[in-house]
């Protein structure tokens, strides 16, 4: 079987999904299930001091026994905030060490700050975390993050929440070609074809949130993304035909066309 292996565990689904921006927990759960994702990201936030104690929490709806949770550092702009957030996540999830690190550089674009990301990754890896890292599509940054021990490299396709699709397939290809750890496109996917293209490029997986949650029908889009990732992966494994400007070799036989007086 063609499995995605992350931190020694094999997954059937190559689609990873976020759990933010849904209308309610019911929609979150239904969309996650329609996506077939086994790895789901969660954010770590201060308890809402005014919240109703009877309200269910996200982990009641998406229990860690059923999904691999990937706590993230969304919203962190410094090494310190990112590291503290993931230490809290590890405590919250009973020693769980698989995390998604992102250290952002700018609130407008949410572009990653690679210098700070490298520093935070180094600290976390020393502390025993298994770091899946959000990064730009810079092949050198990707290489450095892999060298210091990140277990998956997650370059953006385009900016977080932009839905702009894959803007630099060539850089992604270089990253994929060089990496010995899984490469997962994270951020920028807008619709199913974007996910399929990422997989056809040879990515090991795709991580998305807004593309599903902000669709008119999130559950239907989750299902579309599941198929797109599967289709893209199969196309990659199948090996596409070479592109040519035109072909002198039609798919139907050249001989035996009716009305041909030469008898051929």
């Amino acid at each position: 079987m063609d499995k995605l292996v992350i931190a020694g565990k094999a997954y059937s689904s190559r689609l990873l999904v976020g759990t933010g921006k849904y209308k309610d927990f019911d929609e979150t759960r239904t969309a996650v299930d329609a996506s077939g994702a086994e790895i789901i990201t969660v954010a770590i936030r201060r308890t809402n001091l005014g919240q109703n104690p009877e309200e269910p929490s996200l982990l009641d709806v998406l229990p860690p026994s059923q999904y691999t949770l990937l706590p993230n550092t969304a919203g962190c702009y410094t090494v310190e905030d990112a590291v503290r957030t993931l230490r809290l996540a590890r405590e919250l999830l009973d020693g769980h060490t698989l995390v998604k690190l992102e250290v952002l550089g700018d609130p407008k674009t949410l572009y990653p700050n690679i210098v700070e990301t490298l520093k935070a990754a180094e600290i976390l890896i020393k502390e025993g975390f298994q770091v899946m890292v959000y990064t730009s599509d810079d092949p050198i940054a990707a290489r450095q993050l892999e060298e210091i021990g990140c277990i998956a490299i997650m370059p953006l396709a385009s900016l977080i929440g932009s839905g702009m699709g894959i803007l630099n397939p060539w850089n992604l290809q270089i990253i994929i070609e060089n990496a010995k750890v899984p490469v997962i496109v994270d951020a920028g996917v807008g619709t199913a074809s974007d996910a399929a293209i990422a997989m056809e490029l040879g990515c090991d997986g795709v991580l998305m949130n807004t593309a599903i949650a902000a669709a008119q029908n999130p559950v239907l889009m989750a299902s579309a993304m599941k198929k797109a990732v599967e289709a893209g992966r199969e196309a990659y494994l199948a090996g596409r035909m070479p592109k040519k400007l035109y072909s002198a070799s039609p798919s139907s036989p050249v001989e035996g066309v009716i009305g041909n007086m030469s008898g051929k």
Binding site: G20, V42, R45, T47, L58, L88, E91, L92
Partner: protein, 80 residues
Amino acid sequence: MIQLIVNGQPRLVPSPDSGTDSRTTNEARLNIRQLLEHMGLQGKRIAVERNGEIVPRSQFDQPMLASGDKLEIVVAVGGG
């Protein structure tokens, strides 16, 4: 009363021994479990940081909280 900073907000929490004669000793100290109960967070899946350090759940019964302590109490929420 104990004055804490919880999730960035000042918060007065009754000290556990208020009423008894603890004035001559050090200020009575609160443990994390009592604080969580006071906040209605008992039984919730949360994690706690005190003055920048994680407090493991195994230490929730230790009377460690004193006035001026800064606490962060977090949960998992939806995110991408």
